[in-house]
């Protein structure tokens, strides 16, 4: 739209240079605006060189090299898109393609290493599209995980293991608090590698524990949070400040407990573990949960201060400190109420079922991980990223239609190849059957329908990972841009008014034929010109600021990773 109008307006503007009519000047200004904005708008994935990826098609090696040269900041994005396009549309059974995919993934993952540098760390999420792409946390984790899968399929455990470790680390790193990963498949594949390498049982313990704890996290999270909500809903003093704070802390405490408490913990012990570790989270509540804290508690504290006639800063601070001071005491009574309800209400059954499911499923996963054949399937389209806000300054992850936000392990009967190696399955999905040794990698077309469990859901992972601050930075920039535009618009209207006033004075001067009157008109014209100049300067100050969030993401990743058991 902008591009098609541009030549007409520009040519009019060019002709208008010959006269100083204010309307023509305005047109010239508009034409320049259009020319400027039309150059800035194209998002990376819509650039011609990236278009094949929109159709899930890989590009040739030459085209990929061309992208690397012409747009080095998008190299990692192009490599990741190419790797996943090859997984989706390439000949996945070909050794050369597998090697190419693995190489692309490795190159991408190695660029994440520069996050060790604190300067780069703060820029890691590439708030701007003109900064080097480093992927979002779930993309990095998944890239590292898939590298491990391809290396493990090639019976290269020495190389695969560090990638699984890295995936665990990358997943844990960007959570609100330092948890391990909740993707059981990362631990299951690590265990397989450790077992193949002949590592002792004690050295395998981290991976075995990881399987149990991540499965427990997914099986018990919903019933435990439901129990917490029920306790809050049946709380006599649910609006008391310390109680509200205690619920916030207990929620995080329960997540922590599910991923950290000893494997043989009962429901009661899990709740107790969460309450005992509450002090870890009390300190973090105002920093790690700043927005929730402000929304849920700051307003309550302010009202409370008004009631108590302590609305001054010191009074507010004292009330806040008192609320924090009371949390430990409230936490202990909250723990008792949770345990009472867990034992005596209908929640008991759901909780015990969750605990039982954690045990039985993790045992099944361990058996599948250690068996001669381990069957993995990769299906569906991963989460998408959309931009919202007046200036596209907010980026939001949308759950894939193939996925779910719920913390659950989905189960389904999956028709899967069972012979060793890579196989194209339905559409763009693929399966890999890991075999203990190369000799057993014999190709036979044998498809079986088997119960399978989703042990890594990318949408949930993408939505769960939080603590990113770049949206706020962009929000600030959007506000600045909006302010400059508003000031520019207002002063431009002011300039028009002054021009109009000058014209009126000039007309009346002509009628009265008074020279001194003309000077007044020129003075008003001068003021109009200065106002117009000011408007232009303010507009130019705001113009180079691009508050849009980064639109780049790897849309070709798989939503679900299944383990057939």
């Amino acid at each position: 739209m902008k591009n098609s109008q541009f030549p007409v307006i520009a040519s009019e503007a060019w002709q208008s240079k010959r006269s100083a009519n204010p309307m023509r000047l305005l047109r010239l200004w508009l034409a320049m605006t259009l020319a400027f904005t039309s150059c800035m708008g194209t998002i990376t994935i819509n650039k011609p060189e990236f278009r094949p990826f929109l159709q899930h098609q890989p590009v040739s090696q030459e085209e990929l090299s061309k992208i690397h040269k012409s747009s080095p900041k998008d190299s990692v994005l192009a490599d990741l898109l190419q790797a996943f396009a090859l997984m989706r549309k390439g000949d996945i059974e070909s050794k050369a393609i597998q090697k190419q995919i693995s190489g692309l993934l490795m190159t991408s993952v190695s660029t994440f290493e520069d996050l060790n540098d604190p300067v780069n760390f703060s820029k890691a999420f590439s708030a701007d599209e003109d900064k080097p792409f480093r992927g979002r946390p779930h993309e990095r984790m998944y890239a590292s995980f898939m590298t491990g899968v391809f290396e493990l399929a090639n019976n290269n455990c020495d190389l695969a293991l560090p990638y699984f470790k890295n995936a665990e680390f990358l997943d844990a790193r960007f959570q609100k608090l330092p948890f391990g990963t909740d993707a059981p498949l990362v631990y299951a594949l690590s265990l397989r590698c450790l077992h193949e390498k002949g590592v002792s049982l004690s050295d395998q313990q981290h991976a075995r524990n990881g399987i149990y704890k991540s499965v427990r996290f997914l099986s018990l999270q919903e019933p435990l949070i439901d129990l917490l909500i029920e306790t809050a809903k049946s709380d006599m003093r649910t609006m008391a400040i310390s109680n509200r704070m205690a619920y916030m802390i207990m929620e995080v405490g329960l997540y922590y407990s599910l991923l950290s408490a000893p494997n043989d913990s009962s429901i009661e012990e899990l709740i107790d573990y969460a309450a005992k570790n509450a002090q870890i989270f009390t300190a973090a509540i105002k920093t790690n949960f700043e927005e929730e804290y402000k929304a849920k508690l700051s307003t309550l504290i302010k009202e409370q201060a008004n009631i108590q006639g302590q609305s001054k800063k010191e009074g507010l601070k004292a009330l806040e400190e008192l609320a924090f001071f009371k949390v430990d005491q409230v936490m202990s009574s909250l723990k008792d109420r949770l345990i009472k309800l867990a034992k005596e209400s209908n929640f008991n059954k759901a909780l015990e079922n969750g605990l039982f499911a954690s045990k039985s499923l993790s045992e099944k996963i361990i058996v599948a991980s250690l068996s001669p054949k381990m069957i993995l399937n990769f299906t569906g389209m991963g989460p998408s990223l959309i931009r919202e806000g007046g200036y596209n300054e907010i980026s939001t992850v949308k759950t894939s239609p193939d996925g779910t936000d719920r913390p659950i392990i989905r189960e389904k009967m999956l028709a899967t190849p069972t012979s060793c190696g890579f196989h194209r399955t339905k559409g763009e999905d693929f399966a890999v059957v890991l075999c203990a040794n190369r000799e057993s990698q014999v190709k036979e077309k044998d498809i079986k329908t088997m119960p399978s469990y989703e042990l890594l859901s990318l949408s949930r992972k993408a939505k769960m990972i939080q603590g990113r601050k770049f949206e706020q930075v962009l929000k600030g920039r959007a506000q600045f841009k909006a302010a400059t535009e508003e000031i520019s618009k207002l002063s431009l209207w002011g300039a028009f008014f002054l021009f109009h006033l000058g014209n009126s004075i000039m007309d009346s001067c002509r009628r009265s034929q008074d020279d001194s009157c003309n000077y007044a008109a020129y003075a008003v014209y001068g003021a109009a010109a200065i106002t117009a100049l000011f408007s232009g300067i303010v507009w130019l100050v705001g113009k180079p600021i691009n508050p849009s969030a980064d639109s780049r993401y790897v849309h070709l990743m798989y939503e679900s990773s299944w383990l057939s058991i």
């Binding site: 306790t231 008391a240 009202e303 009631i307 009472k340 005596e344 209400s345």
Partner: protein
């Protein structure tokens, strides 16, 4: 005679004002973060009655509802008007108890219901419950 009439008029004005103050919460509770809307509170306690009885004992729901209504009535009145110092002190005590402890809260609430102004607040609650049941 004129003075007596004025005193009676003033006292009558105070009574109306107190009754009105006890109604403020039921009229416009959404203005404040620290209180739940009356109908929402009533429905919540009805819905979670089983859990409430497990946690606080049998037949406690109506007392909890009544005391929470009282706390909310006083909370809204405190933030909207200049209360009489006696009521203000009682309201502050109840709020402190609410912020501190379950038993302390119930005890403080029972004490207020024994007072004359407590009875006025209670009658407003009953009126609300009668209309909404």
């Amino acid at each position: 005679m004129k003075k007596l009439f004025l005193i009676l008029f003033f006292l009558n004005g105070c009574a109306i004002s107190l009754k009105e103050q006890s109604k403020l919460y039921f009229r416009n509770p959404k203005k404040y973060y620290g209180v739940e809307a009356p109908l929402e509170l009533k429905k919540r306690l009805e819905k979670h009655k089983t859990s409430l009885e497990i946690l606080y004992g049998q037949n406690k729901t109506s007392q909890i509802l009544s005391c929470t209504f009282l706390r909310n009535q006083l909370y809204v009145a405190m933030l909207s008007n200049n209360l009489d110092s006696k009521i203000k002190n009682a309201a502050l005590l109840l709020e402190e108890a609410y912020q501190n402890d379950d038993n302390e809260f119930i005890k403080s609430c029972e004490n207020i219901f024994k007072e004359d102004f407590g009875k006025i607040f209670l009658s407003t609650q009953k009126e609300f419950l009668r209309i909404t049941s």
